[in-house]
Symmetry: C2
Subunit: 569 residues, 2 copies
């Protein structure tokens, strides 16, 4: 998706509003838990200070404990834990916003409270605001203190947002050429809400070529909006009634939750995949029709109405590319149960390993159910130009195209941007002989550097050849291996001004996974990996120290008991 949102997972059976409301509770709850833990573990060298801090700390602990209890009760009262014993929030809406040192946490807690006491917003407004306000605080903090190889080498390094920054030079040069600066009457007046005909025509031709479509794709089946998130949101609006659901294999981009819930109130039912290889699974996070049928069955048992299956290919955050056979299996499954298939192919040109073949749904000669097959694509990832705000739908169903185009006025894209995009997409010579080969080469190089570093640090990861990220496993640094510990490790990275996306924000079933974006320049990646290594070393040191303290405590206990026994004897 072109929206980098990484929001908290939706417990099953929740509407978007509930999600937001719970998220705001979770956010406060987690803030409190963390401040509580911080106070518990705080130490100092000066005994006087230590003593003073102790009394102060104990007072604060009391206060926080009280607050924690209230929040917990509130949380439990909300009765929407969906079988989760404890629902952890992702610290913010955007992976790029996962910036929160202690000080930021303070300020966002404050603003969170400020927002809650505002009587000017509706309950819905309060929920949305409480969820976002802190995110934007964090983002502003990051924006205000970005890493810069020349001027600010101590700033925040963002390996959380899935953006391709490796070819900005090429895109800037291309977009500055004189053919881009065109304006006419048609571009200034109200556009065709389906997207300008010239762009829909070009998108159809572009997808015909790069998706290897067996026949020319029809511009009348293309709808152009201002982001892939808007396309998904609009599809959810017209394919589902409120409360209906889509199946989505996990881990998945949690921007999906925002797009499906905020307006359409469509629930995303996670199809949890196993992160380990076992009998049935020949590879981690393998999606099988069996798993899809199991979740569909459970949903039916719970009386949920499932309307579709939402897939991403190439997969985010795994980097997997579905084989043609698997793709057909999923499409056949969907047809068997009269489900729509929405397939997000936003990374389709970001397959940099030449040994891998990407199969677009649009390349399939005889689709099982074309009238229920809908493809989303945009230029945010493949061209690294998220700032142009462009997302496109290709559907074989004209009724769906027409219904989605109804949202064109609220999710419209500037005609001037549409013109530039047309110029870009139609310049095949530049694409094939300059942009794509250079982009793939740079992606391969950056990927190789990061994966070699991970190997050297003995950090397990999925070694894939597509996408802008590596899916890494840090479970051995979590003691115990819980999502609470995952979030603490995430914050530990933030304290070192390094932003990664925790697996929980992708609704991953098992704690310990992180998404690390590598599509950035070498110097930045080097500093990032240095910070990364520092955090892992500290994690290990802290763990050893905790074990040692426990051991000493146990010894003391034993010797005291022994002494007591001797006294008695």
């Amino acid at each position: 998706m072109s929206n980098p949102s990484d929001i908290s997972p939706t417990p099953c059976g929740q509407t978007g509003d509930q999600t937001l409301r719970n998220h705001s509770i979770y956010t406060q709850l987690m803030e409190t838990v963390l401040s509580f833990m911080k106070l518990m573990t705080g130490t100092s060298q000066d005994p006087a200070l230590e003593e003073q801090k102790d009394s102060q700390a104990s007072r604060e602990q009391e206060a926080l404990l009280g607050h924690l209890m209230i929040q917990t009760v509130k949380h439990l009262q909300s009765g929407v834990t969906g079988g989760h014993k404890f629902q952890l929030p992702c610290p913010s809406m955007h992976s790029r916003d996962n910036v929160r040192g202690g000080q930021q946490a303070q300020s966002s807690r404050k603003t969170c409270r400020d927002t809650f006491i505002s009587s000017d917003l509706s309950s819905r407004g309060l929920d949305i605001s409480s969820l976002y306000h802190s995110s934007f605080q964090d983002y502003n903090t990051y924006q205000g203190n970005k890493y810069d190889k020349k001027n600010n080498t101590l700033g925040f390094i963002n390996l959380g947002t899935s953006e391709n920054k490796l070819c900005i030079d090429l895109l800037t040069e291309r977009l500055r050429r004189s053919d881009m600066n065109y304006v006419d009457d048609n571009l200034l007046q109200y556009p065709d809400w389906r997207g300008q005909p010239f762009l829909r025509k070009e998108v159809a031709q572009f997808l015909t070529t790069y998706c290897k479509a067996p026949a020319h794709l029809d511009p009348e089946n293309v709808v152009v909006l201002n982001s892939c998130s808007s396309v998904l949101s609009s599809l959810a609006m017209v394919l589902c009634d409120p409360g209906e659901a889509f199946l989505v294999p996990t881990p998945f981009s949690s921007g999906f939750i925002f797009s499906a819930c905020l307006y359409a109130k469509v629930e995303l039912l996670p199809v949890h995949l196993d992160s380990w290889v076992s009998g049935a699974n020949t590879s981690p996070f393998q999606l099988s029709v069996g798993k899809l049928e199991q979740v569909l069955f459970e949903a039916k048992m719970e009386g949920k109405k499932v309307r579709g299956l939402l897939l991403t290919n190439p997969q985010n955050p795994l980097g997997d590319v579905y084989s043609r056979d698997s793709l057909m299996d999923y499409l056949e499954f969907a047809k068997r149960y009269h489900l729509h298939v929405i397939i997000d192919e936003i990374y389709m040109l970001t397959v940099f390993d030449e040994a891998i073949t990407f199969h677009s749904v649009l390349s399939i000669e005889s689709l099982p159910d074309p009238s229920k097959t809908h493809v989303i694509w945009g230029t945010s990832k493949d061209f690294g130009i998220s700032g142009l705000c462009f997302g496109a739908l290709y559907t074989f169903n004209k009724a769906v195209a027409s219904a989605v185009s109804s949202f064109g006025s609220l999710h419209s894209i500037s005609s001037i941007a549409q013109y530039k995009l047309r110029q870009l997409l139609q310049d095949r010579e530049w694409l094939d002989s300059t942009y794509l080969p250079i982009n793939h080469f740079r992606l391969r190089t950056a990927h190789k550097y990061i994966t070699n570093e991970l190997k050297a640090l003995n950090v397990p990861f999925l070694n894939r050849g597509s996408g802008l990220f590596v899916w890494i496993n840090l479970r051995k640094y979590l003691h115990p291996c819980t999502f609470e510990e995952e979030l603490l490790l995430h914050r530990h990275f933030l304290d070192k001004k390094l932003i990664l996306s925790p697996g929980k924000s992708f609704m991953c079933k098992d704690p310990g996974w992180f998404r690390l974006v590598f599509a950035d320049n070498h110097l930045l990646l080097r500093s990032a990996m240095h910070r990364f290594h520092q955090v892992l070393l500290e994690q290990e040191r802290n763990w050893t120290r905790r074990q040692l303290e426990d051991a000493i405590e146990e010894d003391l206990l034993t010797s005291n008991t022994a002494a007591a026994t001797n006294l008695k004897g």
Copy 2:
């Protein structure tokens, strides 16, 4: 609003979904009524044909009558007429889409049916699609057959869409200058969802100057989205919970209904103004605090929760500009009842009569309730560049700004467009010495031409000095003066390939009013007024003919009765 939507009025007490569902019923219902009427009034010169047509017509009439009855029953069953005896639809979503000759009506009826039988869309999707599909059919027909002074003088002339086409030459020249073709990394990557800081800064400065703000406006209070409709939709999301309401004086831009209902499910409660001058009213459609209080009271009696008042200044479609005192009265009223005031000032620079002073809410030194005062502005009308898709919010309430910015990712505007807008707004020399004076001169000239024509045709209208349109009264051409006749007259214009917006689409209380947009080139306006005159002449002719036929029928009846009496006698 930058959205030209003109959709059917919402009967009180409806959510957005209901509105859409009812609208789709109304659309079918009205299609049927009109086809029925067409058949009733159809005549031919050839008696044989006439006879044949008669039998065929009577069969079709029977079929249509049946269909009409079913639809009527369905409609009444839906029980949402909100006290209206009969709810007429505007023929389409967009005033620019009000193109429907008989043939188009056929095709849109067909597509309407096609959409209804699609099993791939949800009920919500079907409702939205059935409402829009026909609109887009119409729009495509218009787009495919636009009037052109050189190549297509018989094409459709659109005086329905509120667009300023008088200064396209100036805007095109300015937007083509080299300073516009700038691109950098920052413009290509994910933007600040509140809008790029450089544009928010410029918007704050621009509004400070042109709204004559007593103090510098704060860029942190500005949120930039992709249209004023998106701003209103987002405000409705955060200020209201679903089912809550805003007061809106009628007539008003029915794009408001779409923006408030589709996502936010906020009801717009019409404050109906009288079109005639009487004791209390010193001018037509005068808004008074008394009327506001009356509707607010009725709403409270019905248990509705009213959260705000929605105003447009300068007013659309009336062209009125509120005096400073009236404005203060409305703001005081809102404060008294703890209501938000959303004021759409999208026509603020379109006051072309130098004798009129426009007072922006932002110019008021001591606002009664700043934390509940929110201003919407964009460049679609004042600059005639709706294609750039830009809408801005200025609110004194930072919690509201923050909450609205949460919608930035789904309603984002291309950073490249944001850059061009900044360049445009900051070029004060060009604005003050070139664009604004020339624009106002051209608006005055076009307005003078149209109003002189209307005077010559003896058509009453509101003679105002702002906006892009004239609000004209054609009630004397309606026999009887009903909304059904208003819609028929509207279709009569369409049959002559002239698009005007009927008063019903602005929720006007009294039938017979139309909005005529004059901000177009002289040759087009001349052809338009010629067609306009033709239609009025035909209306008069038809009315005389109908009266004559009735008179003859009556004579026959009398003479037959006389003859029968003589026979008896």
